[in-house]
Amino acid sequence: MTKILFADKLDSCVERWRSAGMTVIGPVQRTNSSMYDAVKSASELDLNLVLADRSIKELFFPQSEPMLRYNITKSEINTSEFLPPSGPRIIFGARACDASGLAIDDPLFGWDYKDEYWFQRRNESVIVTIACTKADEFCMCTSLKLAPDSTKGSDILLRPLENNKGWQVEELTDRGREAFKKVADLLQEGSDPAAATVSVPEKFDADACAEWLKNPENFNSHFWKEISLRCIGCGSCTYLCPTCHCFDIQDEGGSFEGIRRKNWDSCSFALFTMHTSGHNPRSTQSARWRQRIMHKFNYFPGKFSANSCSGCGRCTRECPVDMGITETLQEISKLSQ
């Protein structure tokens, strides 16, 4: 017997959480594009998506976050800080890759300086992940040693029932248990079997790739140029990626008042490494693409013992020229044999 959340009770759960002061967030459709966003009722949620177009990271690391307001007077500069919105939230219907992505980035946002904007949101969020029963050709979590039902980064894992009427509930963390206590009476004990999680074929050998990338000789390989010939240098892969975390600090406003903001930035952009002098150490798109792969599968694991990729596949799924991590690592896998 396991705890079961029946789909017809979900609306009541949402209401309950909301009345307990929690912000309920989940995958929704917004004018031709899907994303995670706050909802008022369960009916707004779209839980049938393979994956929302936009990743979960923007709930923790918004694309543009105001940090402080400044005001320059004749004698002094006044500043007042912006704090991230506080209050408990529950993210219902995350996918395992997205939830894992958050866990992957945790050490990054805390290794030297604890980024309050990230951690306050992390500490106040309950991640309810639904194991995947379907996938598309871009999914690649298994190649990253994750799975459609990975628990990494999640507080609750829901497994869809075979009859599609609800989910088996696995409580993974105290924070998850706490949130589900609020709806305990809406859950039922049952023995309805769970649907099989989708099988996602392995597409490359991440370990072999890591070895190849570590070999300094390969840094200057022709491979990089060939694999990135068609890259147009946009930031869609980085901005949709649940683990890409680069940002830029911008002061925005007039001459004597304004707001300092933390904005997403992308290593795909030529401007990313442009020096004031005009010199650009990564002057070509191939150097930028190499950086992205190296960062995710060589430098990041070297520092934080995990690949900076959770296999969601968005990079390829949304790429205007059908590039992405999968193809590159597949080719590296071939080279490393």
Partner: protein, 276 residues
């Protein structure tokens, strides 16, 4: 022989005869619906070329890849009529020399693939001129008409909703053959005319500036619209602006390689009904 076969053979001939150093075409993509740009430099690889109605993207922007044309050797490229128009605009703006480009032309009206005669831009003049005449009626989008009927407030709300999604990934810019600036205005920060933050205000500014910079230059290949990962209907703005320059100045971008840019020229009797 299928058009695909025919063009593979042409590509092989072009490469093996040394007439071109590279063929830019389409290859198979990661699923059935997708085609990806392919850069071929040897005759043996030509069998990788794919040509069908799913080959949609305008490849002309790749011709501006730094250094590609600087050796004065020729490059062949698969282009739809919009792609040829793009070549004309790029030539008119001195970004390339069309003598270096061998066009492998095709189109797929109503999903049916057909080959287009000619390999130089001049040979497409009649076709493009004909497009100028038919475009206004046939390319009218229902959604465009709907937006035009809205009140200004409704239109603002419509675009506010769309632009609020923008994540400033600049895929629209990068995918566009006309966005060849060495430094985009949004990347110029002294002064920062366009807010780089992707709040809705900044997104409004970016999208307005992008559309303005493309006015009279856009050939409506749709690269930007397809590239947008959050599906902002950029084609609608581009369509509207193309209509505007056609109606106001009888300008249809890319009719010839010597066409005067519509915003760097003027007529003394240009309309000015709006000026008090």
């Amino acid at each position: 022989m299928s058009i695909e076969q025919l063009y593979r053979t042409r590509a092989k001939e072009l490469l093996s005869s040394g007439e071109v150093k590279m063929v830019i075409g389409y290859g198979a993509g990661s699923n059935k619906e997708r085609r990806r740009p392919l850069f071929i430099t040897s005759a043996e690889e030509c069998d990788k070329l794919v040509l069908d109605s799913a080959c949609i993207s305008n490849l002309s922007g790749y011709l501006l890849t730094e250094g590609l044309l600087s050796d004065e050797k020729r490059v062949a490229v698969f282009l739809r009529p919009e792609g040829v128009r793009a070549l004309n605009v790029l030539a008119a703006e001195a970004q390339l020399d069309t003598a270096q480009i061998v066009i492998i032309g095709f189109d797929s009206p109503k999903g049916e693939l057909k080959a287009l005669e000619g390999s130089s831009v001049e040979e497409f003049t009649a076709l493009i001129t004909a497009l100028k005449e038919i475009t206004p009626e046939t390319a009218g989008e229902e959604q465009l008409a709907k937006i035009e009927k809205m009140s200004p407030e409704e239109r603002f709300l419509f675009w506010q909703e769309e632009f609020s999604k923008c994540i400033k990934c600049y895929a629209c810019r990068q995918a566009c053959p006309m966005c060849y600036c060495r430094r985009c205005i949004v990347d110029s920060n002294q002064p920062q005319w366009v807010n780089t933050s992707s709040h809705t205000l900044g997104n409004f500014e970016w999208n307005i500036v992008r559309a303005f910079h493309l006015s009279g230059r856009c050939v409506e290949c749709g690269n930007c619209d397809r590239a947008c990962p959050v599906n902002i209907p950029l084609r609608l703005i581009n369509r509207k602006m193309a209509e505007e320059v056609l109606n106001s100045f009888n300008h249809f971008a890319g009719t010839s390689k010597t066409q005067e840019p519509v915003l760097a020229s003027f007529k003394k009797d240009d309309s000015e009904t709006f000026i008090l």
